[in-house]
Each structure stands twice: as C-alpha cells, then as structure tokens.
C-alpha cells in the first residue's frame, strides 16, 4: 500500500475503534445503571420550573453573519497552506504574490469591519 493510503487507513481504523471504545462504557452503563421511568424526570431542565414553550425557536441573524465571514477566511487560509510550504524555495516572487493575495483579503476584512459585520450588538 502507498504511504498515503496506509496513513488514512490508520485514520479510518482509529475512527471505528474510537467509536467502539466510546460506546463500550455506554454499554456498561446499560448493564449496571438502574432504570426508573418517572414522567417528571424526563422533562427538560429549566431551572426547576416547567419548561416554557420549545427551545427550538428562531435565532439571531448575527450567528449567520459570522459564519459567512468565517467561511470566506477559512477558504483563504486554505489557499495559503500550499504557498507556505513552497515559499522558502521560491523566494521573492512567491512573497510578492502572497502579499497581493493577503492585501486583497485585508480589504475584505476592512470592509466587513466598516460595515459592522464583525459587531455583536
């Protein structure tokens, strides 16, 4: 097997074994722990009072704005990874390219800042 495949074969095995080992104690609990179904016990916790309405309600738009800005910057960072790895070999030209790339994105950051997209009010 090529090294890459073998590496990720380990990742897959880790994911499967990890899931099993995480579920194992839950199985032990199933064997050991007592079970008593009382109607009051399974009510959602809300500081001791009967829950008021559903928790699944509409949420603030700000979370969405932050997620949008995040996705854009995450993609940007992804583009910089290959650059970072070869940068030392390629020298001045590579640096100039990266500078341009980052500057354009800094414009984006400045825009988001000015428009108050990074503001949590």
């Amino acid at each position: 097997m090529p090294k890459v495949l073998l590496d990720w074969f380990y990742v897959a095995v880790f994911a499967v074994v990890g899931t099993l080992m995480a579920v194992l104690p839950l199985g032990v609990v199933w064997l050991l722990a007592p079970r008593a179904d009382l109607p009051q016990k399974n009510i959602t916790y809300e500081s001791g009072v009967i829950p008021f309405g559903q928790a699944w309600a509409q949420f603030n738009v700000r979370y969405y704005l932050f997620a949008l800005v995040f996705v854009v910057f995450d993609v940007e960072v992804i583009y910089l990874y290959p650059w970072a790895v070869v940068f030392r070999q390629l020298g001045t030209f590579a640096f100039a390219e990266m500078l341009l790339f980052v500057l354009i994105l800094l414009v984006g950051l400045a825009y988001a800042w000015r428009k108050g997209a990074l503001e949590w009010v």
Partner: protein, 399 residues
C-alpha cells in the same frame, strides 16, 4: 506488511491512545485541574480518595458508570446520543499526528501524515459539529444557547489558530509534525525564540507573537476560561451538555480534555521544539538549580509554608530543581541527550497544560462581544501581519 497485520497494529494503537486520553488527559487532567484550582483559591482540592486524592477521578468514573442515562422526553434521541461520541472520537483522531518522542532512531508517532498540522486543524474543526448537535438535540434553552455560542466562538478562533499553524508551516517549509520538529533540530532552537539562520535571535518578536496568537486561539478553541462562555456554569448552567448525565457527560469531558491536551501537544511541537532537549551550558543549568532551590528554601523556611496559595509555586520550583539538577550532572558527564525524548515531550506538554489551567483560574470570563472582537479585530489582523512580516524577513534576509 500484509493488511491484517496493519489492521491489528492500528487497532492496538487506537486502544492505547484512547486509554492514554481517558487516563492521562481526562482522569489525571481533571484531577490536576481540581487540585490547581484548589491551590489558587486557597483550598486543598481533592484529598481523601487515595494519596493526596489521586484516585478521586477514578472513583468519579466508577460512580458515573453506575448512573442512569436520562434522555429528555423532548430531545432528539438519535442526535442526542451521537453527539458525545463525535466529540470524543474527534479528540482521539487529533492524536494520530502527535509525535511523543524518538526511540532508537524511530519517531514515536502513530502516523506521520504528510499534511500533519492541516490534518490536526481539520479534525479539531469536527468537534464543533458534536457540540452544536449536542446543544440543539437537548431541546433545552441553556443547551441550545451554549451550543450556538460555542459554535460561533469556535469558528471565530479557528482562523487565528490556522494562521499560527501557517506561520510554522512557512518557517519550517513542511506540514508534517515530525518535519516541523526536525526543522527545529536543524536550526538548533525552538521556533518560539529563533528563526532559521542567519536571522536567529532577531526572529524573537515574530516567534513570540505567533506562539501567543496560537495559544490564545487554542484556549478559545477548547472553550476554556477566559473563553468558556459556552459552558458558563453561572449563567448557562453547563451550556451544551446541561442535559447529559452519567457516562455521556464523561465522554464530553473526555473530548474536551483530550482536545486541550492535543492543542498543548501541537503547540509543543510547533513552537517549543517537540521532544528535543533544550541545549544549555552546564553553568546555566546550575543557575536554574540554585534559583529554584532558593525559592523552595524561602517557602519552606518562612511563614509562607502555611499559605495554600504558594503551593503551585512550591511544586513547580521543586520539579524545576529536580529536572535542572539531573540536567546539570548529565550535561557535565557529557551525556547527550541526558533524558529520553518522551520525558521532554511530556514535560513541555504538562507545562503548557499547567499554564492553561493557571489562566483559567486567574482571569474572569469575557463577554461575547469582547470575545468575538478579540478574535476578528485583534488576533486575525495581528496573525496576518505577523505572517507577512515574517515572510518579508525570511525573503529579504533568510537566504
């Protein structure tokens, strides 16, 4: 090697690493946290189960194993049960690329994946799915708020975290964790202090800035004080795991502490030389020995001995004394390396973990807007500028 031998090896390693996470990072980590928080708040911390309360968390685990699982009636049971498993497995997967040391020419790492640190960032980013789905599926207002806050916080700090990783990748010219440590061996010092020759010590400000950015972002990424808004026990009860009982709660804890130790491990590898031994002259080790001896003596032979607040300092100074004493005699005797490399890795790892706990019990919690401002308006521009400046220095001077 035939595939079934690899399968056996992988399974065995997975079991070993999972046990390491459960015992060292979750059980011992929680014990350390309680003990250190006790000292910082002038209490004793756990004391009764086992010597100095060492077995307290083991007893807690046994207790949790006997607790009933409660799934709230209004919860989405499937996602509710899957969420803690996702968090724990994501923490386990982080550890594949973390090298523990070098033993007889072989690096002690599960797999040296080519995209090592990128892989780490990717796996760490999966945690947020577990947290948000745990918070949502509970159908509890505290949990949902905690989960959403946590997601907003984790995605905000992922960018500065990635910028720290990028900085190291740029200086080392590789993404592999082993390659990064090798690059530090080659230049003869940690990336935190020096850049590759001929820049050397002039790289100090860049290195310090990059490591501080990374550590701050890492603290926020694992939801610890001063960035613990998602859990905020005083306002959100426990945040996203408010509804979790028994072992599922323990799995969340395992994931959280596993992630914290993982972040400390990657920081050790990227900025603090990984498993390599610091090279100091024997007289410098002697100086450290004497200094820590003085601290220990002052504490022991004065009224300070009675004060619980100085306990962490006393413990640290005595450990530092022992370590530097061994190093002094070892380097005098011409041994190199004096101590085996896993010892150094674990020493640095625990030093960072101690630092994180110390921060946790020293600073108050930030407000949500302050938290997001810190990430987007301070750490992100700072990280980008540091990247550009270091790139400039490396291009202009570093060849």
């Amino acid at each position: 090697m035939p595939w079934f031998i690899e399968l056996l090896k992988a399974t065995g390693l997975a079991v070993v690493i999972f046990t390491f996470l459960a015992v060292v990072s979750a059980m011992f980590g929680v014990y350390l946290e309680r003990k250190i928080s006790g000292w910082i708040q002038a209490r004793l911390g756990p004391k009764h189960v086992g010597p100095q309360g060492l077995l307290q968390t083991v007893a807690d685990t046994v207790k949790l194993l006997q607790k009933e699982h409660i799934t709230p009636r209004n919860a989405d049971a499937l996602i509710f049960n899957a969420a803690p498993v996702i968090v724990a497995v994501a923490a386990l997967l982080d550890w594949i690329v973390i090298p523990f040391g070098k033993f007889g020419g072989r690096v002690l790492v599960v797999r040296d994946i080519n995209i090592g640190v990128l892989y780490f960032a990717a796996m760490a980013s999966v945690t947020v799915i577990g947290i948000i789905s745990g918070g949502w599926s509970s159908n509890n207002k505290y949990a949902l708020l905690g989960g959403l806050r946590s997601a907003a916080q984790m995605i905000s700090y992922e960018i500065p975290l990635a910028l720290g990783i990028l900085w190291v990748a740029m200086v080392a010219g590789t993404l592999s964790t082993v390659g990064i440590v090798d690059a530090q061996v080659k230049q003869g010092s940690w990336f935190m202090f020096k850049l590759p020759p001929p820049i050397g010590w002039f790289g100090l400000p860049f290195g310090i800035l990059a490591s501080l950015t990374f550590l701050t972002a890492a603290t926020a990424e694992v939801n610890r004080v001063p960035f613990d808004l998602p859990e905020a026990e005083s306002e959100l009860v426990a945040g996203y795991f408010a509804e979790y009982t028994g072992m599922r709660f323990a799995l969340f804890q395992l994931g959280e502490y596993g992630e914290m130790f993982g972040m400390a491990g990657v920081a050790t590898i990227m900025f603090f030389g990984g498993w390599t031994e610091p090279h100091l002259q024997p007289w410098m080790w002697l100086l450290v020995t004497l200094a820590s001896l003085v601290v220990v003596a002052v504490i022991l032979f004065s009224g300070l001995r009675q004060t619980l607040l100085v306990r962490p300092i006393l413990i640290l100074a005595s450990l530092g004394f022992l370590l530097s004493l061994v190093m002094f005699f070892g380097s005098r005797a011409g041994l190199s390396p004096v101590l085996p490399s896993p010892v150094w890795f674990l020493t640095k790892l625990f030093a960072l973990v101690f630092f994180l706990m110390w921060m946790r019990w020293t600073y108050p919690r930030l407000r949500l807007d302050q938290l997001l401002n810190l990430s987007w308006k301070v750490l992100l521009p700072l990280g980008l500028l540091n990247l550009v400046a270091t790139g400039f220095v490396l291009t202009a001077w570093g060849r």
